[in-house]
């Protein structure tokens, strides 16, 4: 290398040690066993999956009871990822979606294993679990279409 220097690397790196807190830790322990649950707000009755400490709407602590939720749900929104970035593990293009589990009142983001052109709002999907379970939502490999008719918009419009 002997030509003039015109560029240099200037990386910015932050390393955090993040505690999940007792509420999310209990949920992740269940995920490591292949189990999902939600917790309900005693005031507005909404069920949160993953559970939070308190209802973001009411501010009240969620009831400790672990409510079973289904492994099926509805795609409420999605995006098709076409842009490569460092550290990416998925093959492009892939679908990242907001998924409202049956029995839950807020969606959470996860992968949909389907042709991007076949993914749409209202698509019914089911969780497929990874062979290697652990305390991470990556224990769900992806959601796959169930083949059921699409959920009507009215069925999930309050949960976007």
């Amino acid at each position: 290398m002997s030509g003039p220097v015109t560029r240099f690397k200037s990386p910015v790196r932050f390393v955090f040690d993040v505690p999940a807190g007792p509420t999310v830790s209990r949920f992740l322990a269940a995920v490591a066993e292949g189990r999902l649950f939600g917790q309900r707000c005693p005031t507005c009755a909404k069920v949160y999956v993953p559970p939070k400490v308190a209802c973001p709407r009411c501010g009240d602590p969620l009831s400790p009871e672990q409510l079973p939720v289904k492994e099926t749900g509805t795609v409420t929104s999605f995006c098709v990822v076409n842009v490569p970035y460092e550290g990416q593990t998925m093959k492009l293009p892939y679908v990242y979606a907001s998924i409202l589990l049956d029995g839950a009142d807020i969606p959470f983001p996860h992968l949909v294993d389907a042709e991007p052109a076949d993914v749409r709002m209202g698509l019914r999907v089911r969780a497929t679990w990874s062979d290697a379970l652990g305390p991470t939502l990556e224990s769900i490999r992806a959601f796959v279409p169930t083949g059921e008719p699409d959920a009507p918009f009215d069925a999930y419009k309050e949960h976007l």
């Binding site: 690397k9 990386p11 910015v12 790196r13 505690p19």
Partner: protein
């Protein structure tokens, strides 16, 4: 299960920056084991060079060699170096006014212990054997009497 889980979370941006014409020449010289400064119209020598004279705003396009030794004008001791800092052992951040320069540049002084640091002391640059065109091609300055 009441244990609280923890996990590392790393946020990293792998920026690459363009140097511009003046800093590019400074880094090219560093890679070649030399130090240069920018000479302003008034004859002041700025190290590291800037694209514009900070006093007048005029473009600085003449680069001149400066010495690889100089004087510490101020310093602070780093007892516990953080990851990514120039040295893994305790060192001093110092402003070093190189011979032939009119401004001081920030870099590390590998003095071993703070009792060996003094404002006004002379230090000399130690270059890395493997250089790639970054400010860390200059590994650190060393106290001159010890080098």
């Amino acid at each position: 299960m009441s244990d609280v889980m923890r996990a590392p979370y790393v946020l990293e941006y792998g920026y690459r920056r363009s140097t511009g014409p003046v800093i590019g020449q400074f880094l090219t010289a560093l890679r070649d084991g030399r130090l240069v400064g920018g000479k302003t119209a008034r004859g002041r020598v700025i190290v590291p060079p800037t694209e514009y004279d900070p006093e007048t705003g005029d473009a600085v396009d003449e680069l001149v060699p400066v010495g690889d030794a100089g004087v510490v004008t101020t310093w602070t001791w780093v007892a516990e170096p953080a990851p990514g800092q120039p040295l893994a052992r305790p060192f001093a951040w110092a402003l070093v006014k190189l011979d032939g320069a009119d401004t001081a540049m920030l870099h590390a002084v590998d003095a071993g212990e703070p009792s060996r640091m003094k404002t006004g002391m002379r230090v000399r640059a130690r270059f890395r054997a493997e250089r790639s065109g970054t400010i860390l091609d200059l590994e650190a300055f060393l106290p001159e009497q010890a080098s």
